[in-house]
Amino acid sequence: MLETFTTMPDSLPPDSVGLVTPQTAHFDTPLELACGRRLEQYSLVYETYGELNADASNAILICHALTGHHHAAGYHAMSDRKPGWWDDYIGPGKPIDTSRFFVIALNNIGGCHGSTGPTSINPETGEQWGPDFPLVTVPDWVESQKRLAESLGITRFAAVVGGSLGGMQALQWVMDHPDRVGHVAIIACTPKLSAQNIAFNEVARQAIRSDPEFHDGWYSRVDAVPKRGLKLARMVGHITYLSEHSMGTKFGRDLRQDRLNFGYDVDFQVESYLRHQGDTFSTAFDANTYLLMTKALDYFDPAATAGDDLSAAMAPISCPVLVVSFTTDWRFAPSRSRELVNAMIHAGKSVSYANIDSPHGHDAFLLPGERYETVLGNFLTRAYDHACGAQATQKPSTKETSHA
């Protein structure tokens, strides 16, 4: 075992949720899907951090993005080199404060990290679902998340939080189940994908589908992996996650060796970086899941069912909303968040909006950022006070206003 040769840390950072163990919930109630098909049974793998309080009022749901999963915080083993994907934001004293909240992070249906998805066995055929796994949508995920919450005794979340595709789920939550969410934070999101967004997704899908190892999605039958396709998909995706500025700062035109090679192998550091990102991803992610997740992104369009009137689609929302965007995000640019905010304003909803100055592009929602952490932390403090009946800690002194 390789791990035994690496130095194991004796302790984990004090603001970490520590060692965590994924759990699995199994559901036998069929899930009717937007595509018209249904899943007779399914499993969801999830992690929780913090303690659920006696009246189950302090729960926060974390919705993951395109390639995310249930391991949002902490470590699975002392030998883990990296914590969960949103560890900077989840932990004691962090914006999603596990000393107050009970945090749930899950892997969505269709995923490839343990929840029922294309790599699961289809009980009807006895083999992997593969490309036959139904296309799931954001509303489908929300319904499955609701059932997971119920299985844990939670009928109302203090808050639902998500970035990017996760933000879409958070938004869907407050449209579908306004009575079950106390506060919602929608980060680096969009009310629907633009033609350009869909175009990038289609390039990624074509990269996968045209890989000879893809075998129309039945690659597992022949023990193949469409690695080249996945690698290309990740490379093109990754470009859209970074800003021109952050790529420029990180790599510029730096060469890997101090000269041009006059060939087609790696000259520039940025090529090397993208290839590395692609290679790592191609062995860690399932191709059918990637296809399915990108389709879920493409299909998300809450206004479509409200006569293309986004503010009409926002009508059911009844809780305070926080929308956050990042200045250099060009995948889901600040203007897309403003569309969402303006639709909510038009619908008369309680909404706040912060456009965080960050050089990191779309990826900024995953990275540390002082202002972002403060705004999200302040909003969730409100969520806690509201949900858990604590006296609001941030009320301005009422004495000062007694003149009125």
Binding site: Y353, A354, N378, F379, K395, T401, A404
Partner: protein, 204 residues
């Protein structure tokens, strides 16, 4: 609460819908929500103020008033408030038009450039006034469109607006007898209540 905010607070009816332009740390809106069941939004561009508003549970939108209010429909609000911000705007006239489009009534505070001390400063010393209400030097002031009460009243007339009420005070917004007698000379700051000329009386 600052004296000007306290006066504004008094002029806003129970249950009103309020837009606060350059809402600062959200003190006014938080208090209005708490004591008068007001629903409102604040516009702000300062990151710390935005965080403070969020902490208070005030709906705050990161938006520069200079970019207009196009995202707010006509007559969305009962009151629009602009406290000590008119003079920092690129086009106060357009801002005023926008304010009166989204709301039946506006409450606006700004410093009076024609205040006697300011006049003395300029007239005798020959230098740009610096005072409690105008604390900056000419080169680093955010106040790029200073005006007098008389100027503002002319702008209101030109835009077909009616001044319903006016509270004139010193730099701390405390009332002063002389300021009531000759506001444009003895008033340092004022809070104006302005409505559209064709605006029906407030039913609240």
């Amino acid at each position: 609460m600052r004296n000007d905010l306290a006066q504004i607070h008094d002029w806003i009816p129970e249950g009103a819908r309020v837009l606060d332009l350059a809402c600062g740390d959200g003190t006014l809106l938080a208090s209005l929500k708490e004591t008068k069941q007001v629903f409102g939004y604040g516009l702000e561009i300062d990151p710390d103020n935005i965080s403070a508003c969020v902490a208070r549970g005030v709906n705050v939108i990161e938006q520069n008033v200079d970019d207009g209010l196009a995202n707010f429909a006509d007559d969305t609000f009962d009151r629009v408030v602009m406290s000590q911000a008119l003079q920092v705007l690129r086009r106060p006239d357009r801002a005023l038009e926008e304010m009166m489009r989204v709301s039946r009534e506006a409450i606006i505070t700004f410093p009076n450039f024609a205040y006697w001390r300011h006049r003395l400063h300029l007239g005798l010393k020959g230098r740009m006034p610096v005072s409690k209400s105008l604390p900056h030097a000419w080169y680093d002031t955010p106040n790029i469109h200073l005006s007098t009460f008389a100027d503002f009243e002319r702008l209101c007339r030109a835009q077909g607006l009616k001044i319903i009420d006016r509270a004139v005070g010193n730099g701390d917004h405390e009332p002063h007898p002389a300021a009531t007698w000759w506001p444009n000379l003895f008033g340092e700051v004022a809070i104006f209540r302005v409505c559209r000329d064709n605006c029906p009386p407030d039913q609240r």
